[in-house]
Symmetry: C2
Subunit: 124 residues, 2 copies
């Protein structure tokens, strides 16, 4: 009966998974659709395993509502119809903002790790 504890475990809980910028970068330069993005987005490494479909589709509809992407049905080709997304100029701006933020995070993380190792050495 330690599921309760496990649920509270920080590294099993909510982590920054960068789903929105991953979707935007996945669409940058090349239109795509939910199912394909699910396969591609995990390559960025922020998700362990496959991206949960429900969340990807929710994100896609949300960012379309926010004007970051535009979709249209693609009934051509094989298989079920696909809702194909294109990034908008607003979406590209948002991606740039995300990248700025990620650069800051990356620097903060490096600095944090450095400080940790310093203190580890001192106490070791």
């Amino acid at each position: 009966m330690n599921q309760i504890k496990k649920k509270r475990h920080p590294l099993q809980g909510k982590q920054e998974r960068y789903i929105q910028p991953s979707i935007l970068l996945g669409l940058y330069g090349k239109p795509s659709y939910g199912y394909e993005l699910i396969q591609n987005i995990q390559k960025f490494g922020f998700l362990k395993g496959q991206a949960p479909p429900g969340m990807i589709y929710r994100h896609l509809r949300q960012i379309e509502e926010d004007g970051l992407v535009l979709s249209e049905w693609d009934t051509e080709g094989t298989g079920p119809a696909r809702r194909v997304y294109n990034i908008t100029p607003e979406g590209e701006e948002m991606l740039a903002i995300w990248v700025e933020y990620m650069e800051t995070q990356s620097k903060n993380l490096s600095s944090f790790i450095k400080q940790y190792k310093q203190r580890l050495k001192e106490s070791g």
Copy 2:
């Protein structure tokens, strides 16, 4: 009436703020207490401005329940009594796990940024 939109804005919404590892590193090698940690934790750069007190105290009690820290009241000295926290061995282990995770995130972020800049150059 665009508060609704603003609330949904990703970079104004939930970001990874690394409060738990920041508290743990803040206690690593040196006991401290809530009010002091609030001042110190912002130096890591993950929070814009001051850390929200309510969240810090909630985190502290949570991680004590999880066995990562131990507290005792310090009624000596000036001002109101302080609940002084010490990190436990379990807390140090958890911090090490956090740092591992943060190293991974840092690498993923660098890689993401690199891919973004590559595609920007191609389309530019």
